[in-house]
Subunit: 207 residues, 2 copies
């Protein structure tokens, strides 16, 4: 028989309203905790835990423990693209409301991914840091160089702020709107915080 990979297993994961609500909430690119996702889907934390276990088992989302919170994010760009295709198909076939535009060009240009800068601006910042020699890229594994550390100090970030438990200082975070990596990790968080402090940017209301 022609039975290929079992699409029905993935399809069944996308067949529950609670799970699709969680996935659309994760489409913004920022990682959310299990409790936040439960509130998003209007269900109890117990039920949300069951759903999230299924989603991780189906490799649609990835989980990362941080303290007593568990942060969930989409597994990769393919999942985001799949959700986009489904939304388009549902909008074409569905007699439903239209989608609240995630294709906002401003959102694509600069946005915040959990706690660091994303979008085109985040990608450009990582590129600039690599070009300056502040960060070394060895096949996706990022590390802060010695001149990079002094540059960061001159930027007004204490190195103590970077030591955030078991969280890596530098981490590459793939952006599914731009399809390229930007700087995550505690350094990315500290840089974003410093940018806010300097008043170079501010959060827009409404997320």
């Amino acid at each position: 028989m022609r039975s290929g990979p079992d699409i029905a297993r993935i399809g069944a994961l996308l067949g529950d309203p609670a799970r699709t609500h969680m996935l659309t909430a994760l489409m913004s690119g920022e990682a959310l905790t299990a409790g936040e996702l439960a509130r998003e889907a209007a269900i109890t934390p117990q039920t949300a835990s069951s759903h999230l276990a299924k989603l991780t088992d189906g490799a649609l989302v990835t989980q990362r423990r941080q303290g007593r919170c568990v942060y969930y994010a989409l597994a990769g760009p393919e999942v985001a693209e799949l959700m986009e295709s489904l939304a388009g198909l549902a909008a074409a076939a569905g007699h439903r409301r239209t989608r609240p535009g995630p294709r906002d060009p401003a959102l694509r240009r600069a946005r915040v991914c959990y706690d660091h800068l994303a979008g085109d601006m985040g990608v450009a910042m990582l590129d600039a840091l690599v070009a300056r020699g502040a960060i070394e890229d060895r096949g996706g594994a990022l590390s802060l160089t010695e001149p990079g550390a002094s540059f960061v100090r001159a930027f007004g970030i204490a190195e103590v702020a970077l030591e955030d438990g078991r969280r890596p200082v530098c981490r590459a975070c793939l952006d599914w709107s731009v399809r390229r990596s930007h700087l995550a990790g505690s350094l990315g968080k500290a840089l974003l915080g410093r940018i806010f402090e300097q008043g170079w940017a501010r959060r827009l209301e409404g997320g």
Copy 2:
């Protein structure tokens, strides 16, 4: 509330093995009767009728009466692309599942993916077109070059046939059996049609 189009409705349609079997059977591009689809999914005609009614209501397939038979086909290229995405995601995540892909070497070698050539032959054709300079590959984004356009014209394909509304001319379609990309889009469709016209290949009986 951010409730967009109900993705869960479409996802639920893809969550049943019988329905996904029918849809994958329709991926060959040819229209099949309700009875053939029932045999394909190994269910009774009554159950198949119920499933097909749901699929047509969800705008995933279209039906056309012809005599006392009802022919079903995929609603459009978007549905085929969605199925391909799902298959790729299921193949990536489903290592624990028994099926590692089509074991039939002939099916792996050359098959038709909705309306264009797939399998090893499809991958080889795309590689040849890129090596010849007819198609430019910029990180997954395919585009037809100027010498490529003249080559296509010499092959007997009018450029008018390529302008298919909102459908891209060139598109990379990841093949879940070969794990590499082949040529989709309206150009892939036109090339396959020309191959059939020239008599270089023919459809085998039995799908």
